[in-house]
Every structure is written in structure tokens, then in C-alpha cells.
């Protein structure tokens, strides 16, 4: 049963990572592409982490896998946000909201 779960989790991880890469290619703007970058930081790594923990249990390898995926999970939103701000600064000169974008 555990072996089947590992297989299923790995298949989900592979499909998620490949779909993220394909989505990056298909989308037209940088903002759209960044959504797929975010997905690659979360879905696939978490499935691989679950597969590793099911396969080996809470060993040194398991703790290292938790650290790796934890770093990715923390890094993803920060890096994607910084990239989106850099893109907006390049296009508009200022990452802040324009007058027509202000929320009342």
C-alpha cells in the first residue's frame, strides 16, 4: 500500500512539474508565467517530500528533505514577488499602484 502511494505521489509530482514548465512556455506575459513558477515551487516538491517520507520514514534523509522543501516553500513567494516587482519597475518605472489602480 505504501509502495502504491509512493508511485502515485511521484506521478503527481512529475506531472505537476512538467505542466508548470509547459505553462511557462505557453503563457504570453511575465506575470502569467510567474504563476507557473509559483506552482513549481510548491506542488511537485511537496509530493516528492511525501513520497520520500513514506519511503524512508523520519530518518536523516527525511529531515533533509523537509528542510529542502521548506526552503523552497519559503523562497517561492518571496522570489516570485521580487521578480514581479522588478518587471513592473522595468515597464512602469515604479512598482507602486498607478492612480487608476488605487482601491477606494
Amino acid at each position: 500500500m505504501s509502495g502504491l502511494a509512493v508511485h502515485v505521489l511521484l506521478v503527481i509530482a512529475v506531472v505537476a512539474q512538467l505542466l508548470s514548465a509547459l505553462g511557462l512556455l505557453v503563457m504570453r506575459t511575465a506575470a502569467d508565467r510567474l504563476h507557473y513558477t509559483s506552482a513549481a515551487f510548491t506542488v511537485g516538491p511537496f509530493c516528492v517530500l511525501a513520497a520520500v517520507l513514506l519511503h524512508t520514514g523520519m530518518t536523516t534523509a527525511g529531515y533533509n528533505a523537509i528542510a529542502t522543501v521548506g526552503l523552497l516553500f519559503l523562497a517561492g513567494p518571496i522570489v516570485v514577488h521580487a521578480t514581479a516587482r522588478a518587471g513592473r519597475r522595468r515597464v512602469l518605472g515604479d512598482p507602486g499602484p498607478r492612480p487608476e489602480e488605487r482601491v477606494q
Partner: protein, 83 residues
């Protein structure tokens, strides 16, 4: 070849669309592709570490994840300020 090595091998195909975007699109699009490549490489290294069954191999994806974080922030700051 066990299931983890197979998964790592199949995931390598993800570098093809990422490379195409890096080569053909603008700097911010290429940076998004580079960040995705970092996440993909970390996941592949995680699978390879488990597939080879050596616990000390797991240090490599930890370093790769940390460097993906730092390099993404450095490139984002560089592209947003100086070009």
C-alpha cells in the same frame, strides 16, 4: 532503476520549455524561467538522492534550494534597478 530515479529522469524533460523561454523571451520572462529551473533542479536532486539511497546526498538539494532563493533575489534586484 527504481521509481525515484525514473521520476528524476522524466522530470529532466521540463528543462526543454524552460530553456526555450530563457533563450527567446525578455529578461523578466527569462528570470521566471530560471527560477522555475531552480525549483525543477531541486526536485530532481531530491528524487536522485532518494533513488541512490545515500542519506548524505540529501545535502545537495538543500544547497540548491538555498541558492535558488538567493540567486532569484539577486537577479530580480539587478534587473529591476540597473538595466
Amino acid at each position: 532503476m527504481n521509481e525515484f530515479l525514473l521520476a528524476a529522469t522524466v522530470m529532466l524533460a521540463g528543462f526543454i520549455p524552460v530553456g526555450i523561454v530563457c533563450l527567446r523571451e525578455g529578461p523578466i520572462d527569462a528570470l521566471a524561467a530560471l527560477e522555475l529551473a531552480g525549483a525543477l533542479a531541486t526536485t530532481i536532486l531530491l528524487c536522485l538522492s532518494e533513488g541512490f539511497g545515500r542519506s548524505f546526498y540529501f545535502d545537495v538539494p538543500v544547497i540548491c534550494a538555498a541558492l535558488t532563493w538567493v540567486s532569484g533575489l539577486v537577479f530580480a534586484r539587478f534587473l529591476g534597478r540597473h538595466i
